[in-house]
Structure formats: structure tokens, C-alpha cells
């Protein structure tokens, strides 16, 4: 049997020696922080124009993560490329010849890439939060307030989980192009649109991104949103269930198909 630490070490080398890792992760960080900061500044300046309901449920923590909508796409790209380039480059055959225990190979890869994505996600959420609160000034909050730390850590976990979900989906589809073609429109358009459509939103609520992002809210029904049937941790739990399903699906495909 292959030695797991050796395989983890090898997967770490794979990740740190391709440039796509650096640019996707920098993108995820920069886009999230920049867009969140811009929205915080904008909302702070136009606070009086908000509806009464929105003002009453103003959630400074959630607002400081508004860039996640866009930044998560870079996390999707990171997750897709980590797995997908094995297929597009033909490296998968070499990798499997070196580590024929397919589960060990896939789970090592996802562990290394997942931990990296989680670390970058947490870094992004903390920087985004502090910068956002600074820009919100008096309307801001701080880490010590109720549930705020949970939301900030949760926002970081959310970013990492999105990347891991993408890795699982790509392992199932075995193609970077196909995975990007499905995941990017899904997270950026389909999910965002359906959540605003009556009836459709009752289903869309259980999508991984919609459920998972509940953890970033501190104020219930923040910014005039609908009440949801699950709390923040249950929402994250739903997202984790999606991630586990995707990774398991990826494992089954890798295990059973010809490379």
C-alpha cells in the first residue's frame, strides 16, 4: 500500500508547482476583499436610501462578505483545476501508476487542496471582515459581538467548502471544461436567480451555496431576506452533505472507470 504521508507530500508538490494555484487563490482573496470593501463603503454612504426593513435588519457582518458571490468563482476554478488538469494533461495515468490505490490518491489530493483552500478562505474572511467594519465606521460591529466570530469563521469555511465541492464534481465529470461550464453558471447565475423566484426558492434554499452562506448572517432574516427553515449551522451542515456527496461520487467514478 502506498504510504499516505508520501502521497500527501507528492500532492502538495503538485499543487505548489503549478501557477494556476497561485493566481486562482490570489484572485479569490483579492476579488472577495475588494468587492466586499466597495459594497461596505457604498452601503455606508447610501444607508439612508435603504428601505426601513433593510435598515432594521442591517447586518454589518454579512455585508462585509458580499464579495463572496464573485470571489467564490475563483475558488471554483481552483478546485476544478486541481483535479481537472490531471485529466486534461494525461497526468492521471502517471499518477495512478505511481499510486494505484485510487482512494488514497483522490483523498490525499482533496485533503491537501482542501486544507489550502480553507486556509485561504479563512484569511479572506478575516481580512474582508476587518476591512469592511473599518469602512462601515459606526455602523460596523466587532468580533466580540454575539455570533460574529461564528459568521467570520463560517465565511472562511464556506469558501473552502466551495472549492472542495468543485473538486468532487470535477472528479465525477473528469474534465475541467465541462466542470467549469456547469459550476460557474450554476453558482453565479442559476442559484442567484432561482433564490429570488417564488416557489423555486423553496428548492434553491437547499443548494450548497445558498444553504452554506446562511452561516455568514448574524442578524436573522438579514437585509430583509426571507426567514429560512434552518439555522446557520444546519445550513452549513447541508452544504457539507453536498460536499461529501460530490467527493464520494468522484471517488466512485475514479475507482470504477478506466483511466
Amino acid at each position: 500500500m502506498a504510504s499516505v504521508p508520501a502521497v500527501l507530500n507528492s500532492e502538495w508538490t503538485k499543487i505548489r508547482t503549478v501557477s494556476s494555484t497561485t493566481w486562482t487563490l490570489i484572485c479569490a482573496f483579492a476579488v472577495t476583499v475588494a468587492m466586499s470593501a466597495a459594497l461596505c463603503a457604498l452601503l455606508n454612504a447610501t444607508f439612508d436610501d435603504l428601505s426601513e426593513a433593510e435598515q432594521a435588519t442591517f447586518d454589518p457582518t454579512l455585508v462585509s462578505f458580499s464579495g463572496t458571490v464573485l470571489g467564490q468563482l475563483a475558488m471554483v476554478v481552483f478546485g476544478v483545476l486541481v483535479v481537472g488538469t490531471e485529466y486534461s494533461s494525461g497526468m492521471i495515468r502517471t499518477s495512478l501508476a505511481a499510486v494505484p490505490q485510487r482512494g488514497t490518491l483522490l483523498f490525499s489530493k482533496i485533503t491537501v487542496a482542501g486544507v489550502l483552500a480553507l486556509v485561504v478562505g479563512l484569511l479572506t474572511s478575516f481580512v474582508s471582515f476587518f476591512l469592511g467594519q473599518a469602512l462601515l465606521g459606526d455602523r460596523g460591529t466587532d468580533l466580540g459581538a454575539d455570533n460574529v466570530l461564528r459568521a467570520v469563521v463560517g465565511a472562511g469555511l464556506y469558501m473552502g467548502l466551495i472549492a472542495i465541492f468543485s473538486m468532487g464534481v470535477t472528479a465525477m465529470l473528469r474534465s475541467s471544461m465541462l466542470s467549469l461550464g456547469i459550476l460557474v453558471p450554476f453558482f453565479f447565475l442559476i442559484s442567484q436567480i432561482l433564490i429570488a423566484v417564488p416557489y423555486a426558492k423553496d428548492v434553491a434554499r437547499y443548494f450548497p451555496d445558498q444553504a452554506g452562506s446562511k452561516i455568514m448572517q448574524v442578524v436573522p432574516e438579514a437585509m430583509g431576506s426571507d426567514p429560512s427553515p434552518y439555522g446557520p449551522w444546519a445550513g452549513l451542515g447541508i452544504m457539507v452533505a453536498w460536499v461529501v456527496a460530490a467527493v464520494l461520487g468522484g471517488y466512485l467514478v475514479l475507482k470504477n472507470r478506466d483511466a
Partner: protein, 350 residues
């Protein structure tokens, strides 16, 4: 030792490998021959556990591939398709493989040096030429210093110097007692490298024989004569009991005679000779005849196109004969060490 037993692979209704049973033994180069689509690459992928056999098994020293501990130290393989990440440098591509099997990183430098890629070790492999990519693949096969090496068409894309190098490398590795399994379409290439031959066509085993036996059975040697006094020469030969067959270009071909005999005979009868040469028929033709029934992808000869392969029973046309050194019996191609190898079989006529 690699043992294949009833190995079968179906892709839908297409049978790519059909009940293949054979062994690949240590200490020699085993050539794995077959026309395009014969199932060579598929067989090799099944040996590495990359493709699941429909039925049958592969055992490597009695074990399944996935039971091997750190397999790169056991068996190294060069596959036919590209199998490295282009965005990573040659060095780093090999480093990840080495680390996964706990091979020291110093070995990466060693194999890069062996294949002559030290100078471009830090370059991204996507910029590599076909031959450089092939060398990188060979380096990855050598990485774990394995006892078994498998090469799928290693000469593909290599320059003549590279071809010469890989031939010698394979022979040297076999001489160290390792098992070398190499696929090719070219009989002539195998004649120069392999000690044993496994021939398949449409996934089925066609031959499993030593190279020497194959050459013995399939290569016909004869003497070619050309003379301005052809009629007289024929009479003389006839009187002495030789059977001369008239071939293209007004030459005569005589089986079972030596150049010495015929030269002296001509001198005795004062017949002028313009050519007296010993000839070997191409092993390529023997291979083509063997696989003729199982070639799937025939080229159609258009204007100036290639001739279709000869069918069984076709004559030994001029195009398949090899020019040996004039009046130099037993000449062999430079660099040839395999006993009984054919001269100049690469210069197959079009």
C-alpha cells in the same frame, strides 16, 4: 516476470484484447508487436491497472499491480499518450512522482541526466518537442530503478541518435537481468532490440517466439545476380543445378547458394557479372504477412500513396528486398549486435 492469463478487454461491442495469455520473462527484451489498433496500448494499460480487464488477469511476480508496495520501484512504464502536466517543469513533474513512492529527489537529477534533459530540467514540459516529451516519459519510467520496464512505442518521435540510445538502453537494462517489455509497429526495430517476440493482431495472440526462431523461420536469404549475358548465365546455372528465378530489373535470384560459389562459377564459365550480392528478405514482410488478416486500418493507395501491405502468398517483390553490400556475404547494419539481424530493413522500398 509478468504473466497475462486470458486477458480480455471489451469496449462496447469492440474486442480490443482477446484472451491474451503469455509471459514476459526477465533478463531479456520482449518485443510486443502489432499493427495499429491491435490492442498493445490497451494491454499495457491493463498491466498497470489503469484499465479494468473485462476478464482475465495480469500478475507481476505473482501479484496484482495494486498489491505492489510503491510500484514505481517495481515497474516503470512509458505510456503512449502524453502523461505529464505541461505547466510543471520537467524536474517537478518527476519530483511529485518520486515523492509519492518515497524515492529520493537526488534520483530525479540522475534520471534527467540519463535521458539528457538536465539542461531543460527547470523548463515547463509543455514547451517540449515530441522527442523531449518521450525522453521525460522514459525518465519517469526509470525513476524507481525498477526491475520491470514497459515502453509503449518508445522510439516514437525520437531522432536517430535517440533511437540508437533507447535501443542500447533497453539492451543494457535487460543485460542487468531486468524485464523489458516494449511495443512497436516496426519489425525492423524489434529485430535490432528484442530477444523475444509477442505478436498480436486484433487483440489475439499471433506469435510468441524467440527472435532468433522468428528470423530463422521467416527470413529468406538468397543471392542476386545481374549480368549482360543473362541467357548464358541461366544456362550455366541450370547445368550446375541451381534454380534461378528471374526478378525485376533483369536480375536473377538464387536460393541456397553462396556468393563465393556463384562468383567462382561465373568466373569458370567466363560470364561477366554486373552484380553479385547476398540478400536477406525483410522481416517486415514476414510480420505483415502474419498480421495481414488482422490489420484494421488499411491505407488506400492514392496517387503516389503507399502500397497496401502484401497479402499472404505475394511474391518477394523488388520493393521488399534489401540491398546488401555488393559481393559481401553476411553484411549487417552498423551497430547491429542481435544475431542474425537483417541489414538495412529500415530502407523498405515504397
Amino acid at each position: 516476470m509478468i504473466e497475462l492469463e486470458g486477458l480480455t478487454k471489451r469496449f462496447g461491442s469492440k474486442v480490443a484484447v482477446d484472451h491474451l495469455t503469455c509471459q514476459v520473462r526477465p533478463g531479456m527484451v520482449t518485443g510486443f508487436l502489432g499493427p495499429n489498433g491491435a490492442g498493445k496500448s490497451t494491454t499495457m494499460r491493463m498491466m498497470l491497472d489503469l484499465d479494468n480487464p473485462t476478464s482475465g488477469t495480469v500478475r507481476i511476480d505473482g501479484k496484482h499491480y495494486h498489491e505492489l508496495q510503491e510500484p514505481l520501484k517495481y515497474i516503470g512504464a512509458l505510456l503512449d499518450a502524453k502523461s505529464m502536466h505541461g505547466g510543471r517543469s520537467a524536474y517537478n513533474n518527476l519530483l511529485c512522482l518520486a515523492q509519492s513512492n518515497r524515492i529520493p529527489s537526488s534520483r530525479v537529477d540522475e534520471v534527467l541526466d540519463t535521458v539528457g534533459l538536465s539542461g531543460v530540467a527547470k523548463k515547463k514540459s509543455k514547451g517540449f518537442s515530441l522527442g523531449m516529451g518521450q525522453r521525460l516519459g522514459i525518465a519517469s519510467a526509470l525513476l524507481g530503478d525498477p526491475e520491470i520496464l514497459m515502453f509503449d512505442e518508445p522510439v516514437n518521435g525520437l531522432d536517430p541518435e535517440g533511437i540508437h540510445w533507447i535501443r542500447n538502453l533497453m539492451k543494457a537494462l535487460a543485460a542487468e537481468g531486468r524485464t523489458i517489455f516494449v511495443s512497436s509497429h516496426l519489425m525492423s526495430e524489434m529485430a535490432l532490440t528484442a530477444d523475444h517476440l509477442i505478436v498480436i493482431g486484433q487483440g489475439r495472440l499471433l506469435a510468441d517466439t524467440s527472435m532468433a526462431d522468428f528470423i530463422h523461420e521467416n527470413s529468406r536469404s538468397y543471392v542476386r545476380l545481374r549480368s549482360p549475358q543473362q541467357e548464358r548465365l541461366r544456362d550455366v546455372l541450370h547445368q550446375e543445378g541451381f534454380t534461378a528465378v528471374e526478378a525485376d530489373g533483369g536480375t536473377l535470384e538464387i536460393d541456397g547458394a553462396t556468393t563465393e560459389e556463384l562468383g567462382e562459377l561465373a568466373a569458370r564459365h567466363q560470364v561477366v557479372l554486373h552484380e553479385l550480392s547476398s540478400q536477406r528478405a525483410s522481416l517486415e514482410e514476414a510480420f505483415m504477412q502474419m498480421t495481414a488478416g488482422s490489420v484494421e486500418y488499411h491505407a488506400h493507395s492514392g496517387p503516389g500513396g503507399a502500397e497496401p501491405p502484401p497479402t499472404v502468398g505475394a511474391g518477394w517483390g523488388e520493393g521488399w528486398q534489401q540491398p546488401g553490400g555488393t559481393a559481401a556475404p553476411g553484411t549487417t547494419a552498423p551497430g547491429t549486435t542481435t544475431p542474425g539481424s537483417v541489414d538495412g530493413t529500415e530502407n523498405k522500398g515504397a
